[in-house]
């Protein structure tokens, strides 16, 4: 008997969980025969006649919305198309500035009026921004990152991507701030927003690509809308949280100073919440970059499109280069926005010039950028290399990567295959069979029971309703495949991630290496994982699992490390003076006290795994992700939304269950209620 089992056995919980598991196992193994014996096939397979044709109705509603619905004077389509037009204008402007240049006239007759910004100038500009945000180090990091884009032939695509980020991020940030303020001021807004945000963050993006496509048309604007919807929710949450955590005294002060409500908000609350808000801005930027590839499915060009196209061609070199370019862009933007978040006060000129004509002299950086801009523009007219990076000097590493993969495949094929087969037959397939065999009726009961056990009747009711939704839509089998893939991946991610996290909290050298790896993993767009994994293991559950584990392991490591690190050092000292061995310290003090944080990490890992599952559908899994993906290719709104909601519901249930567990752990150790 392991220690874990012993501990479980001590509590009443043990009996609940063993019985549940046993019954599930029996029903999963013999349920089919049992149902046959009593001649009640509906027990196993949810009867088609009982299904609610929800997806058909949603699709119908969608086409009604697009074709017939109107607000009196104009139709819905006209409204959304005018939003498209509104978004299109700034986007075109930025796009021309960074990538395409300004033209007069159309088609063949178009005359270049003003060229796009030269690559040299853009590099100088971002270096100046880096220097303004922090120091020369950041400046050179950003400079090298952008130089990389130019040298490796990714410049044009990168600028297209940058242009869409430049539009999506401000809208996402300001939209998020305004909604967050509304939620802070009026509790009713908060109440309404909370489930909506939950859904927006858990529903896979693919699920709402189709309706967006219908409403806004294929093109960069649709991609912008999808990006904003995806990237905004954290900003809303962070804004509300930041405003709430402004010290009460400051709020009281602003009242006592006689501020009007508006002055309180804009002069006291928002400025003092600024450091936290900047964390949100960073989040929005990173999420927007995450969306780059998915957005290219509905018409965004740029790096995302390059990755997607290479993925379809199974061109590993091309895909990896474009993918790495996204990462490089992400790292540059991430570091700069983090530097702005940490910047403690606005930069002021040390001496205030009195004469207005010479005020620019107080800002040498701005002056240099402006002057060099003018110079580059002037030289660029004669020296085209200044304007666009000379193609002859571009490098590519594509061939190298393909060689690497080919070598591995040629030399290690048997070993890789053996690992894959063993894991599949020993672990993956039995679990899949077990979960897949559970009859829907027992599944519904079991999930509700778990809900009742961990969180009382409210969670029980929620569990029942959400599971029932999945069942009546005929998605039970696919949902179980999703649970299986997600569960196994999360398990592996935790088995690897949590010990690594604990280790890196205890050892600073390990920590440096681990956080380097984790940082890279987190900035890699999820699609990029697929390429090498598929090259090595081909399509199927196993490849999907590896990609999911790689993508979802970061929070498991991060939160475990954070949990162990944030333990009150006095408790560790108390353990040491009680004569604990290092191992006892770990097992008796560190791990139990870090448990709530570790569970939070588990929660995040589950969320990431679920979101990655939709993407792994590309490599041929038969789960809800595939359902969403098929719906996308067939432009079937109803099917996509229903399957997307099903995934979101699994995520919500997992979240509630784990959160209840975390709360219980917290109470047990007397942190808080």
């Amino acid at each position: 008997m392991t220690k874990l089992a012993q501990q479980l056995a001590q509590s009443r919980n043990f009996w609940f969980w063993t019985t549940l598991l046993l019954v599930s196992w029996v029903l999963s193994t013999y349920g089919r025969d049992l149902a046959k014996a009593v001649d009640a096939k509906w027990l196993i397979k949810f009867p088609a006649a009982w299904r609610i044709p929800m997806k058909g109705e949603i699709s119908a509603a969608m086409s009604w919305l697009v074709e017939d619905a109107h607000f009196g004077l104009f139709t819905v389509t006209e409204a959304t198309r005018s939003i498209t037009w509104l978004l299109e204008q700034p986007y075109q402007l930025v796009l021309s500035l960074f990538a395409s240049g300004f033209y007069q006239g159309v088609g063949q007759d178009a005359v270049l009026v003003f060229p796009a910004l030269s690559w040299v100038f853009v590099i100088i500009l971002v270096m100046a921004i880096g220097h303004y945000a922090k120091d020369w180090w950041l400046s050179s990091l950003v400079g090298i990152a952008f130089l990389y884009l130019a040298v490796f032939g990714q410049w044009d695509s990168s600028m297209v991507t940058l242009a869409s980020i430049a539009i999506a991020v401000p809208i996402g940030v300001w939209g998020g701030i305004l909604l967050g303020i509304a939620a802070y001021k009026w509790w009713i807004v908060e109440l309404a927003l909370r489930p909506l945000l939950d859904l927006m963050q858990t529903i896979p993006v693919f699920a709402y690509l189709v309706p967006i496509l219908f409403l806004f048309g294929f093109g960069p604007v649709s991609a912008l809308v999808a990006t904003i919807i995806y990237a905004m929710p954290p900003m809303v949450r962070i804004t509300t949280l930041a405003l709430k955590s402004v010290p009460t005294e400051l709020k009281e002060f602003s009242l006592m100073a006689g501020c009007t409500p508006r002055q309180t908000l804009w002069k006291v609350l928002i400025p003092s919440a600024k450091p936290t808000l900047m964390v949100g801005v960073n989040q929005v930027i990173m999420l927007s970059l995450n969306m780059v590839i998915i957005a290219s499915m509905i018409g965004a060009g740029g790096l995302g499109y390059d990755v997607l196209a290479s993925l379809r061609r199974l061109d590993i070199g091309g895909g990896l280069e474009a993918g790495v370019a996204i990462v490089v862009l992400a790292i540059a933007l991430d570091r700069v926005s983090q530097a702005f978040a940490l910047q403690r006060s606005p930069d002021r000129p040390l001496y205030a010039g009195n004469s207005t004509t010479l005020r620019i002299m107080n800002y040498p950086r701005t002056l240099i950028v402006l002057l060099s801009g003018g110079a580059i523009f002037a030289i660029g007219s004669f020296v085209p290399q200044m304007q666009t990076f000379p193609e002859a000097y571009e490098l590519t590493t594509g061939a190298i990567w393909e060689d690497v993969i080919r070598t591995i495949n040629v030399n290690f094929f048997d070993q890789l295959e053996a690992i894959k087969t063993t894991l599949l037959s020993v672990f993956l397939v039995p679990v899949k069979r077990f979960l897949g065999g559970i009859p829907w009726i027992w599944g519904l009961l079991a999930v509700s029971l778990i809900g009742w056990r961990v969180g009382g009747w409210k969670v029980c009711l929620l569990a029942f309703l959400l599971t029932a939704f999945i069942i009546v839509n005929g998605l039970w089998a696919k949902a179980m495949t999703t649970v299986y893939l997600c569960g196994i991946s999360v398990l592996i991610a935790c088995v690897i991630g949590i010990p690594v996290g604990i280790l890196s909290a205890l050892n600073s050298r390990v920590d440096r290496i681990v956080s380097g790896i984790i940082d890279t993993l987190q900035t890699l767009p999820s699609f990029v994982y697929l390429i090498p994994v598929v090259m090595l293991f081909r399509v199927g559950d196993f490849s999907a699992m590896i990609a999911v584990v790689l993508y979802a392991i970061a929070p498991a490591v991060r939160y475990a490390a954070q949990g162990v690190r944030s333990i009150n050092p006095q408790l560790i000292e108390a353990g040491i003076v009680s004569g604990c061995t290092p191992f006892q310290l770990l097992r008796r003090i560190r791990v139990p006290l870090a448990l709530p944080e570790i569970l939070l990490g588990l929660n995040q890992t589950i969320m990431l795994a679920l979101s990655m599952l939709v993407i792994t559908a590309l490599v041929g899994t038969r789960d809800l992700g595939q359902e969403v993906y098929i719906a996308l290719t067939k432009a079937d709104t109803g099917r996509g939304l229903v399957a997307g909601l099903a995934i979101a519901f699994i995520a919500i249930l997992a979240d509630r269950f784990v959160a209840a567990g975390a709360n219980r752990a917290k109470q047990r150790y007397g942190y808080e209620s």
Binding site: E249, L255, P271, S272, K274, R344, S345
Partner: protein
Amino acid sequence: MDKPVKLACRHVWKLFGAVGPDFLAGATEQAPTLEMIQDAGLVGAVRDANLEILEGEIFVIMGLSGSGKSTLVRCLSRLIEPTAGELIFEGIDLLKASAKEMIEIRRHKMGMVFQHFALLPHLTVLENVAFPLEVQGKSRSQREQIAREVIELVGLKGREDNFPRELSGGQQQRVGIARSLAVEPELWFLDEPFSALDPLIRREMQDEFLRLQSLLHKTIVFITHDFEEAVRLADRIAIMKDGQVIQVATPEQLVLNPENDYVKEFTKHIPRSKVLSAGAVMSEQKIGSSHQVFADERIEKIAEKVVTTNETFSVLSSEGNVVGSITPQQVINVLVGRSDDQ
């Protein structure tokens, strides 16, 4: 006491929880007891507080944590809406003032200093002090000029362009004080202003505070949990316990006639010489001595003089009439803490 009343607080209640509409209906005649409040599932943070704060005095509200003193001062400034009661400030009932009127009153007549300074982290010292003027819409030059004057008054000249985080705790609170004084308030609330400071700095800030008050003569409501601080600063002290004001008196009266054992417990450890005046210690015998002290002088101040002279002093009223006499022995009794009616 012939000073006019600046702020009167009558039957002020603050109950937390879902208060029924007529829970306090008969409160003026028959106030609900602590048990009744608890039985109703409420928390009685302030119960039936009656105070009159006189113009130009330092009125200290003293109580331990959880006694309701912070809630009470927030009721007085209407940062918290009292459940019931009246707040008369210069003849108007603050609780009936509209939000707009409250903004005007706070902009021009009230100032407040907070325990944790409540400085705006993104503004410099100068901008922080000028902030209340900025929200009033004063021009930049005007508000900066006023702010510079107040900053000099609190002894922070030269620090105008620093950010709050670059200052020590004591300096930060000076900024807080300067900021609250910038609007020249008539009523000045200080909510445990020195509690977050180190003991030595606290002492220094108390002296600074007394110096400022000797220049400005504001009407002050000062909150503290430190009885020594209260005695040092107060003209009058209100002692609070469990949301109730137990006793309102001068420090001397508190020491001489504590209302109950709870108050007595506080006064026990206070050196008498710091509280008692010559008038409270003297005997009625009117002796015309060449050595004289005034009746309202604290023992602490006259002790050295009386003991080294080693003669009986005559005690004068503030008009200069002899009202009694004080012997070196009486002074020594106070100094060593011996009860003098043995």
